[in-house]
């Protein structure tokens, strides 16, 4: 019998074998594998005849509705496309147009974003995925009349599983397309070290627009584990959430740990139920990871690395005694490559550099993404054929040490990580220039603490505008967390030797001002901790 490469086939099998297991818990709402499968099967029956582009948008997150939407879309044989709830109307309209979605699944927060103008750009089929609370004005999944599709629609490995958006230097985000095959390979490799079982209770700290959610849900569904969805509020002080729910597996950006340390809430022995803690998305500073180990003494701790373009993750390093530290940065190393990856460290010509020399991290694997949605130009620039094999050029800097362990050393370009969110500074600059009506405008990430940007500062030469006006204009096109918390105006910009605007000089200026005793460290505005 041919196997079905549908990404929810293993969810389906788990639901058949153990329908009463808890699948998802969100606040005081819970849903079992069996019930989630029943809703997804009904949603799939409704969606399947409507599939033309084969893409279904998910305008929902941190809710059972979001997962009903994802499982239902996949069950129908569609590619699921999470839309970021923080995108302003202009961006939602443009991307929904580009994506030619066949349908949209929403939750109650998603419904609030569907103003008349946004709804005009949305597909005509909009379903509320919330099985319990109907949303006025929308058909909900519990009231669909079609008989459920009894099993997920067969799919091929090369079919697209999902499209996840990440910041793009062109001013618009780019959609990373991942195939069913790439996802399956990722899960096979990740299962080896996460070893989830039906007894595991996983804290889901991420929005479904972030591909770490892919890791959690699909590994959980293979094993029959439960997902416990955290709200943005829970993320600010997660201790009670983890303790009350006896969470066994944690994954987050290190920023959350650092926030807890600052608040004084990360106490020794706090998390005695955790058996596995995973950190990702940002450099993992040694004091951070050591404090977590004290708080979660029974837990194994893993640091993982991977751009969305390699399908979630491709390297990892366990916290050992003594730890394997990237000494230059005081962070845990990124360790070893997944077995299905070849890693090269290359110079700008693409030639490999010797051991212990820094170069660009280049990834070769059958787990790589297909490329960027509707952007063959960007795809060809980042995914290149070398020596008869397809490689992804990450833009990350790193080196391989004498023991074949890898170390991350920052970025080649102006991509920054802000609380785990990938941001191309050029994307923000495009909108700063537009808002200011001048080409002489740049954005820097500042301050940077433990390798994580805490905020963005914009610089503009248009002295006739106010900070408030510029921010308001930018917020029409960018999610709030990408709008600089502070805009500075300068008659002239410092220039570097190539006559380009000198970002380093601007950062040095900010550092100098912050060290002056009269200045208070600015609180970075316009961000969200939800990463």
């Amino acid at each position: 019998m041919a196997t079905n490469d549908n990404i929810v086939q293993s969810f389906f099998e788990t639901a058949q074998a153990e329908p009463d297991l808890l699948a998802i818990s969100a606040g005081n709402q819970e849903i079992s594998y069996g019930d989630l499968a029943a809703h997804a099967g009904r949603l799939a029956a409704h969606l399947q005849p409507k599939l033309t582009s084969g893409r279904v948008g998910i305008l929902a997150s941190r809710s059972i509705a979001a997962y009903v939407g994802i499982v239902g879309a996949a069950w129908a044989g569609a590619t699921y496309v999470p839309l970021n709830m923080k995108w302003p109307a202009e961006r939602l309209i443009q991307l929904m147009g580009d994506l030619e979605l066949d349908a949209l699944v929403i939750d109650s927060n998603g419904a609030k974003l569907l103003t008349d103008e946004v709804r005009a750009a949305a597909p005509s089929t909009i379903i509320s995925g919330d099985p319990i609370h109907p949303i006025e004005g929308y058909v909900d999944v519990a009231r669909l009349s079609e008989p459920a599709l009894q099993a997920p629609v067969p799919r091929q490995g090369a079919d697209l599983a999902y499209i996840v958006f990440t910041s793009g230097s062109t001013g618009m985000p780019k959609g990373v397309m991942v195939s069913c095959d790439s996802l399956a390979r990722y899960l096979d490799e990740s299962q080896k070290w996460t070893q989830l079982t039906a007894a595991d209770r996983i804290a889901e700290a991420h929005d479904v627009t972030f591909d770490l959610s892919v890791h959690n849900m699909f590994l959980a569904w293979r094993a029959g584990s439960s997902l416990h969805l955290m709200t943005a509020l829970d993320m600010m002080a997660p201790q009670a959430f983890v303790r009350k729910r006896a969470i066994t597996v944690w994954m987050s950006v290190p920023t959350i740990v650092n926030n807890m340390r600052r608040a004084g809430s990360l106490k020794p022995g706090l998390f005695d139920t955790l058996r596995l803690s995973i950190f990702c998305g940002e450099p993992l500073a040694m004091p951070t990871v050591e404090a977590w180990q004290e708080a979660a003494p029974q837990s194994v701790i893993e640091n993982i690395y991977g751009p969305t373009e390699c399908t979630v993750v491709c390297m990892r390093q366990r916290l050992t005694q003594p730890p394997l530290v990237t000494r230059e940065r005081g962070i845990l190393s990124i360790g070893d490559a997944y077995e299905n990856f070849d890693i090269r460290i290359c110079d700008p010509s693409g030639a490999q550099v010797p051991t212990n020399e820094i170069g660009e991290i280049v990834l070769g694997s059958d787990q790589l993404a297909d490329g960027y949605f509707n952007r063959p130009d960007l795809t060809d620039a980042a995914f290149r054929m070398v020596d008869g094999r397809r490689w992804y050029f990450t833009g990350d800097l790193g080196y391989r040490d004498e023991n074949d362990k890898f170390h991350h050393m920052g970025r080649l370009d102006n991509q920054v990580k802000m609380k785990g969110n990938r941001i191309e500074l050029e994307e923000v600059e495009t909108h700063l220039r537009r808002a200011c009506g001048t080409e002489l405008a740049v954005v820097v990430a500042w301050p940077v603490i433990d390798g994580s940007a805490q905020g963005l500062v914009g610089f503009s030469t248009n002295m006739t505008l106010s900070e408030k006006e510029v921010r308001a204009e930018m917020a029409k096109a960018l999610p709030e967390y990408m709008v600089p918390g502070r805009i500075e105006f300068r008659a002239e910009m410092p220039r570097n030797i190539n006559d380009k605007i000198d970002r380093k000089a601007l950062i040095a200026e900010l550092e100098g001002n912050a060290q002056a005793p009269s200045m208070v460290t600015p609180v970075a505005a316009g961000q969200d901790v939800t990463a």
């Binding site: 709830m85 609030k112 829970d234 201790q239 809430s265 961000q527 901790v529």
Partner: protein, 78 residues
């Protein structure tokens, strides 16, 4: 003297040009009405004006999400 917790929330909504006619059980943060920066500000107010210790191991931050749960939280501390 501390303000009533309801007026703290109403002030925060008004400062941000948001509708201030909020019902006791309406979600404030998980609905997206106020963002995480506002939550940080509220945490500081609760600690500074209301004397709550939010670093406590069993402090449940989800209690910040509605006026009625906030009232229960503040009442318990008093």
């Amino acid at each position: 003297m501390s303000r009533a917790i309801q007026s703290v929330i109403v002030d925060m909504l008004q400062e941000r040009d948001k509708p201030a006619d909020i019902a006791p059980n309406d979600a404030i943060f998980t609905s997206g009405l106020l963002d995480s920066l506002a939550a940080t500000e509220l945490i500081m107010t609760l600690e500074g004006e209301f004397g709550l210790d939010l670093a406590d191991a069993d402090f449940d931050i989800s209690q910040l999400d509605t006026i009625s749960s906030l009232e229960a939280l503040v009442g318990k501390a008093a």
